[in-house]
Amino acid sequence: MGDMTEEILRVENLHVSVADVPILKGLNLVINRGEIHAIMGRNGSGKSTLANVIMGHPSYEITDGHVFYRGQALEDLEVHERARAGMFLSFQYPASIPGVQVGTFLKKSVSSVRENPPKGREFRKELTAAMSQLSMDKSFLSRYVNDGFSGGEKKRLEILQLLLLQPHLALLDETDSGLDIDALRIVAEGINQVAPNSASLIITHYQRLLDLVQPHFVHAMIDGNIVHSGGPELALELEERGYDWLDNAA
């Protein structure tokens, strides 16, 4: 981190409901450029909701509070406008798009998101480099997006997009689930490459990704709120002790 902190994400008193059921209850969070934050919590604590609502998922209703991205209130931006502004969400279960080849998809996505998208040979060079870094075979490019992909293949494709789209804000939702240790290492390497120049939010159940991607801040989430924050040591503590000791704080 340089001397100047640059705020990328600010979440203020965020209340969110899905079908009138409150999920997030007054959450606050600030992430600056260069910082890696990890949010840990049980299933159903609202972790994925946070990532989705920041990205603008239409099923979530903000009932109170605000989300600011690079100083701008996000409420009026559509999902694709957020993507074009440099926000990125890596999905736990990315949708498959039958009939659309990965190569075509990546090229179109990069040219709509990046400010000065690489063209032709330049793009192919970048693509080849990123794919070899993630140990992805060229044959990926002619397969259909996530169609018939294994869990590990889907995650690699997500991280490939992270590398190519070069976002200011990377929201990584359960990126470690379903990966063996080799794949986890490759994915972590991808995240580490992008993290210094962007703001990263890692959502996870487990410590094991955080062994490979060192977070600056770890937050424990219970029942729609961050109840405790700390440094990387908190992740170890949560892994060891679980969340029960924090329940009173919620």
Binding site: E78, V79, H80, R82, A95, P98, G99, K108, L165
Partner: protein, 468 residues
């Protein structure tokens, strides 16, 4: 001349029209005299006049189909159709000799450009007759005959007499009777034994006049061991009144021959498109129908193959896009009339904005045709609540030694797919376009590249302005 097309032209980029000009134009309406006049004008042999008159009488007696979209069918006013319109006195061999505004139309449609780049021959039909025709010299030297049907009848009457109406008899249905009575234009294609034509040949059909009836007739004969890829495209201006396109296409694939027939139908939404397409495949022959239906008001078309020789194979890949005010009633028919014949049918349809798509299929295996294999897959994608998709599959299986599979699915675009694509920078419309193109991909990948690109652009255009 009053231009009433502009207000309803919408997004349809081929909806422009030229001033109508004709050297011969028949009065609207159909009588036996009109049929005889067409034949006389074309200086046809008497046997063809007789076929026409017989077909006309059958057309008059034959009732309208009592299935399909009867309310739309019954709105056709046969008395308000121009059955013959000659817009140029000759079929030219050079684009420079084609009348200017007609040439401009084909320029705008990109035909001369495509011809130079990747086609082996081109027929361009405007209203009732071909205005331009050419074939590459090397194909001609190999004995390939590619003519418009009127010239085919003049130059090769014995071949035409032998095959005309043998695959689709005039009495097949009301519209095959109508076509046989008043046919004009279309393609006549003969590929000699063992000749493999590498570059596709193309026919382009353009209706320009209002209330026009276009009745082209195509006959393709692939002799033993030959191969051919025939491509056709079609467009028309948007008018507030209807036009009628009713073609008959007959394919004959001799022993070991291969015919691929690709269509991208993009008629404007005021055109009734009622077409009978059928092929006969003899021993070890292959017939492939690659059939795309994007335009028209009502299309009824079920490309068929009669597998008459052992080892013959049929492939029907079709897509249909039914937008607002459109009904695409399409499908496929395969008749396994010999043993060890195989077929694949893949049908994909998209309905949007209240459009309706129907799949109507027939798969027949006769009792003595043993060891046949067939696979039928029908997928429908419905983009909104107002739209509709139906499937009417019929199977008549006469023996137990055949292996048949049928799969059908109806799906909607999922909100997960849209959200995923939007997080990757695609607007909702672009995301929809991508999903739709992906859905049709098994079809588009079978098309020549130039057509595939064009079709994808077309579908993306259809998705624009559609999301509220």
């Amino acid at each position: 001349m009053v231009d009433d097309s502009q207000e309803i032209i919408g997004d349809y980029q081929y909806g422009f029209h030229d001033p109508e000009h004709s050297t011969i134009r028949f009065d609207k309406g159909l009588t036996e005299q009109v049929v005889r006049d067409i034949s006389e004008l074309k200086n046809e042999p008497e046997w063809m006049t007789d076929i026409r008159v017989k077909a006309y009488r059958h057309f008059v007696e034959r009732v309208m189909p009592d299935w399909g979209n009867c309310s739309l069918l019954n709105m056709i006013d046969f008395e308000n159709v121009t059955y013959f319109l000659r817009s140029s006195d000759k079929t030219e061999k050079s684009w420079d000799d084609v009348p200017d505004d007609i040439k401009n139309t084909f320029d705008r449609l990109g035909i001369p450009e495509a011809e130079q780049k990747w086609l082996g021959g081109v027929t361009a039909q405007y209203e009732s007759e071909a205005v331009y025709h050419s074939i590459r010299e090397d194909l001609e030297e190999q004995g390939v005959i590619f003519l418009d049907m009127d010239s085919g009848l003049k130059q090769y009457p014995e071949i035409v007499k032998k095959y005309f109406g043998t695959v689709v008899p005039h009495s097949d249905n009301k519209f095959s009777a109508l076509n046989t009575a008043v046919w004009s234009g279309g393609s006549f294609l003969y590929i000699p034994k063992g000749v493999s034509v590498e570059m596709p040949v193309q026919a382009y059909f353009r209706i320009n006049a209002k209330n026009m009836g276009q009745f082209e007739r195509t006959l393709i004969i692939a002799d033993e061991g030959s191969t051919i890829h025939y491509v056709e495209g079609c467009t028309a201006p948007n008018y507030s009144t209807d036009s009628l396109h009713s073609a008959v296409v007959e394919l004959i694939a001799m022993k070991g021959a291969k015919i691929r027939y690709s269509t991208v139908q993009n008629w404007s939404s005021n055109v009734y498109n009622l077409v009978t397409k059928r092929a006969v495949a003899y021993q070890d022959a292959v017939v492939e129908w690659v059939d795309g239906n994007i335009g028209s008001k009502l299309t009824m078309k079920y490309p068929s193959v009669l597998l008459k020789g052992e080892g013959a194979h049929a492939e029907v890949i079709s897509v249909a896009y039914a937008g607002e005010g459109q009904h695409q009633d399409t499908g496929a028919k395969v008749h396994h009339l010999a043993s060890n014949t195989t077929s694949n049918i893949l049908s994909k349809s998209i309905s949007k904005g209240g459009g309706r798509s129907s799949y109507r299929g027939l798969l027949q295996v006769t009792p003595k045709s043993s060891g046949c294999r067939s696979k039928v897959v029908c997928d429908a994608l419905i983009l909104d609540e107002d739209s509709r998709s139906d499937t009417y599959p019929t199977m008549e299986i006469g023996n137990s030694s055949s292996d048949l599979e049928h799969e059908a699915s109806v799906s909607k675009v999922s909100s997960d797919q849209l959200f995923y694509l939007m997080t990757r920078g695609f607007s909702e419309e672009e995301a929809m376009g991508l999903i739709v193109n992906g859905f049709f991909e098994p079809f588009t990948r079978e098309l020549p590249m130039e057509y595939a690109v064009e079709l994808n652009k077309l579908l993306e255009l259809e998705m624009e302005g559609s999301i509220g």
